[in-house]
Symmetry: C4
Subunit: 389 residues, 4 copies
């Protein structure tokens, strides 16, 4: 059943579902968690853990990228943030962590107006690779156009082209030459991952443009900035399931399998499991890693649209520091709320559901189980988000 609903005489709409509205149903078989295989490929890069740390300045720097690579995951470095504007980012990060709430937006607008230095881009990539890490980097379409050559020259392992909303048909003013995604994918020597998108049609367009991975998620959460400021967004369970259909179609037509990476609003192990059950191959998460002792944000987390000089969006959240990146990603957990040992949670969930591989996990049964706000949920979420005290 997927009937269009009439909002009014002049408008119809589909019902879309969020991650908080679904739950996973155990099947007739179960599995020891140790038997669950969570490995996957992004382009030619194999990873044991389908969890990527977001290209956000409070989450990934050189050290985090290296650590996450070692643990079997992946961290993406933002090429247009603090790390590539400042030779020594540490005093800058200190200022962000210590500024008061009221001066925050202004400070961010100031700090992010310093110029991006192409040689710092190359330096960060080399730093990651020289320590044995996978150099995955990210830029906006505009940034990719500008700094793509510098990245190609030094040779990163993976390139994410990521905007709030990306399409393969962007109309720009005459004075501007927009990034041609297909050309860019063609010319770059490493796999290019494109996003974010939320619909089957756009996901398919991006695959045709040559993407080696698709980031899915625009305004996925009810409290998300994109929905508040722009009204734009699709709840994540529906967005992932839709884009998954594009992956299957593209695979049938071309034989090429382009993984779907769910990105946005995921906090707990359960959120990750549910995205994969909706068809995702991997997830990209920010705030859970912002809480790592090694995270550059020092207990703070902010979105990459926050420093916009014209229309800042998102805000800085004090997420706190709850453990090491190892405890968060592969455990053992010191917290019992689903934010530590994310890999353990995924494997346990797969065992519970009888899924031996991520492909089997994508097929598990789902129920719609609306999670009306309960006091427990408020309490738990508030703590997870560092909004309680």
């Amino acid at each position: 059943m997927n009937l269009d609903i009439q909002i009014g005489q002049g408008k119809t709409a589909r019902r879309a579902y969020g991650i908080d509205e679904i739950a996973l149903v155990p099947g007739r078989q179960t599995l020891d968690a140790s038997l669950a295989d969570t490995s996957w490929y992004l382009g030619n890069v194999k990873r044991e853990i389908p969890i990527i740390a977001s290209a956000m300045d409070g989450v990934v720097d050189v050290k985090m990228a290296v650590l996450l690579s070692e643990l079997g995951g992946l961290g993406v470095l933002n090429l247009e943030g603090i790390q590539t504007r400042y030779e020594d980012p540490n005093p800058i990060l200190e200022r962000i962590a210590s500024v008061g709430k009221d001066e925050f937006v202004g400070l961010m607008q100031e700090l992010y107006s310093a110029p991006i230095q192409p040689e710092l881009i190359q330096k960060r990539i080399s730093e990651i690779q020289s320590q044995g890490g996978i150099a995955a980097v990210s830029a906006t379409p505009a940034g990719a156009a500008k700094y793509g050559d510098a990245v190609a020259e030094v040779g990163a392992d993976l390139f994410f082209v990521q905007g709030t909303v990306v399409s393969n048909a962007h109309l720009a003013p005459e004075s501007v030459t927009p990034l041609e995604l297909a050309q860019f994918c063609e010319k770059m020597p490493m796999p290019v991952i494109l996003g974010n998108c939320v619909t089957e049609a756009v996901a398919f367009d991006l695959m045709q443009a040559g993407a080696s991975g698709i980031l899915v998620g625009i305004g996925p959460g009810a409290a998300c900035t994109s929905r508040g400021v722009l009204g734009v967004g699709v709840p994540q369970a529906t967005a992932v399931a839709d884009c998954t259909a594009a992956r299957e179609q593209f695979y049938q037509e071309t034989g090429s399998y382009v993984p779907i990476i769910a990105d946005g609003g995921l906090v707990t192990g359960g959120d990750i499991c549910k995205c994969i059950a909706c068809g995702a191959d991997a997830v990209m998460i920010g705030s859970p890693f912002a809480r790592a002792a090694e995270a550059p944000g020092q207990g703070y987390h902010w979105g990459m649209a926050t420093p916009s000089p014209i229309l800042p969006r998102g805000t800085r959240i004090n997420v706190g520091t709850t453990g090491s990146v190892k405890e968060i990603l592969t455990g053992p957990a010191r917290l019992d709320d689903g934010t530590h040992n994310l890999l353990g949670a995924l494997k346990t969930s797969m065992g519970t559901l009888g899924a031996k591989t991520l492909k089997e996990m994508q097929q598990v049964e789902v129920v719609i189980a609306p999670s009306l706000l309960t006091e427990g949920k408020v309490y738990q979420k508030a703590q997870q988000l560092g909004m309680g005290k």
Copy 2:
């Protein structure tokens, strides 16, 4: 699908949708925000920004009307409020801003019992126009009957006849002659905008009566006074979409295009974008402008039903002051929560959705994406409404 739902054996109902329950879906094309054209016409008045400041005493005075005109928007002056009862409204506004919570309703009932002075009506209109502003004024149907001639004499640019609920068939006691809307539109020398209404039938009736614009919105919010006190209201997404159908029908029949203005409960840029996506041509908003440094309310906001001597409704809210009217309407934003740079938010949203004009924005895809109350939403809304601290 628009099936009637059976509430019980004796009653059926439609499901209506609110702005908080929908979100907008990016299409296959995107657009530079700078290319989005947000201009529109109200009668013969062209405006660059489809945002109107409500005819509320805490929101619009002469200065605000002029400022908003200059910025490309519009502000409507309430002809039955403080500005037309008192030669010098400032000490009155001071008293409202400084009175304690418990004496508030009583003070309002007292202050609004002072007589309306027709010469002050004319004076305010002249003051706006002499400073280059567009003189848009508002009265209730009863006020329009009484003061219409005074307004016609001095010549305002736009006349809003606005009641909580307006119909073209009002039954009054024999001792009273109700305002004949069609006669009134006929005789007034400027465009007349009528409202509020929420159904296709009434919107069509009002267009036939000669309205140059229709205000849509009765009890749109779940916490709205009209719903609490009177039980009356229709969630705004449905109301706007329904009245949009009347506009299309009227246009087909007469060739005359009567814009739909969504009014009530809109707080963020996202709310504005969603109303237009449901078919509105423009929006009318109060509380976002009540937070302007230049607003007459001095950080306070109250509804026009509040001073009723018999059945006061609504209350005074301390919304605070967050920036200049320019920052709020056209930016750059100093806040990151969607309440600054409303025009920038609209243009960015249109770019994201690939809509070059407001007419294209009315056609974008919508999903139903219930926004269950989340802690983030509580936090954000509470701050926006000035209820947190």
Copy 3:
């Protein structure tokens, strides 16, 4: 559409709707509030206002019954409470108002174990009537069996037989003779009102037993005690609409019109309007009147199941005192939150909706407009219920 929904393989259910989930839609006509006729009959008793004060000890005593009668409403005296157990109820009410939270249930269990005195029953009825009030009294089925004769002897005007759930087919232990409702209605010299019930079938049964009015409402609110303790309840919009169908059916078959009185969980004017729009002829409310300066509860309100020695339900709530009973029932209002001037709210709503009589009000259009919890609603409800501070 009224399809059974499958909860699981072994169980289907209907969707029922609460008052908070609906809103009323203005039609093509409006009306001056002064033209709205709110009169109705209960048996042979005509009242100008379709609002009855509940038979609760914190709400109605002799004085309140007289005052409410004078104002055009009605108050029902509980025959099994404080007023008929104690010659002088005032010191008892003082104790209830001053006891601490933890001793409350124990104190209530003690106070309500004092014997009911039939002569006090007769005395209270005479006191009401001698002051010109309508003597409406209430007892449980067991109490009606015991004290019916005493009431008949002195001659009350209306007799309410009211239990949490009443049926016309009650199975009792052999040692007990249950009240035969039909016999009781037959023998009593005044109209008998029966309830509470929630289904068309039971409402019809009670009409056939001779009821002159039906009380509708069992566990109507989501937070209601009956739902929490017993799991029992039907949301009020559905319950009222269903029982309305029984009234129509019974009227067609017998020519006798038995009014439906919605009872439970109603707080604001809007709640009252919505019940009538679902088909009710009148409403019974408690907490709004418990807040009257004249109320016996002195700012406190408690349910009649609270003193149960075995399974106490409900609790004492500090509702505070907000105005006189006149201000609450017929205004003018001193509060702007929908809890003052309930008659004014009803008339204004009827005007807005174009309903000249309660019969027309029963026919107005309803939409389903889910009122997800918003911070405003929490704030407002908490204040109304006296749970905030």
Copy 4:
């Protein structure tokens, strides 16, 4: 109607319902509560009350098991907890009750790493039986494999094999021999109860494996740990109704009636009534008994997944102490919020609904009556869960 809903192009799902979303509808007959028969059989053990205390260390020890047996209920002893790891559990329980929030998970991981002593298992069983109690014990599948023989030797009355998710087809690493459920049921000299499961298929499999009872409930609550950490769960009303269908099918095929025991997230009498109305034969509850003065948790309650050394889930909640186990189970109640006199609530509910036996209670009418979060519910739930103050 049980249509599959399309989450997105690639995924469909059923809508599942929780206990909070339903309510029970009174029928045409009512009943004196004293006439309600609540007896039931679990294997060959007859109990007067269909309420079982969970095998949790804060809930059941030897004393509680004996007390609950005497009152007509049942308490299950956890064979892998504090009671079987420590000769004298009291100082251990003291430490759990007194540790600070931040050290809690670490302490639990430490305390639960002490070895389980088979002779303590046998000793606890003997202690219960020698005091006249029913010795019902519980182990995980792994624990059952290890300690089953010790239990069989000493002879408990009932054996619960209980894991978060149990299936009859568990895939284990080659080094491990998983418990064969059918073999285990066969060889054990007492009835074996298996769980937890949530689907008709698995419930049927477990019945075929020889279960004498089925525990139903995985992640039933919206705030449940399993849903947060693993994403796994089915709302309880649907899970119970589905597994009930397996019971009916199995009974038709074999003539053997295997009771369904709803387990998880039940707090009030109403919750219990609603589970039975969905088809359950009995319920298992933890937190309501953790609040008993006699409970080993001393006002604290924690889940059995909490001490996991790798992936701790759940947390310790300060539920407080509100009365004796007798007051909680059979009353008279001293609290009015539905957490005292659970049997009285069940009998009163059955009377209200006209159900003479639990089999009739399984057939009562249910409505879907979404319990959106209301301030009352927050207040009530917070108090019940000990999260308020």
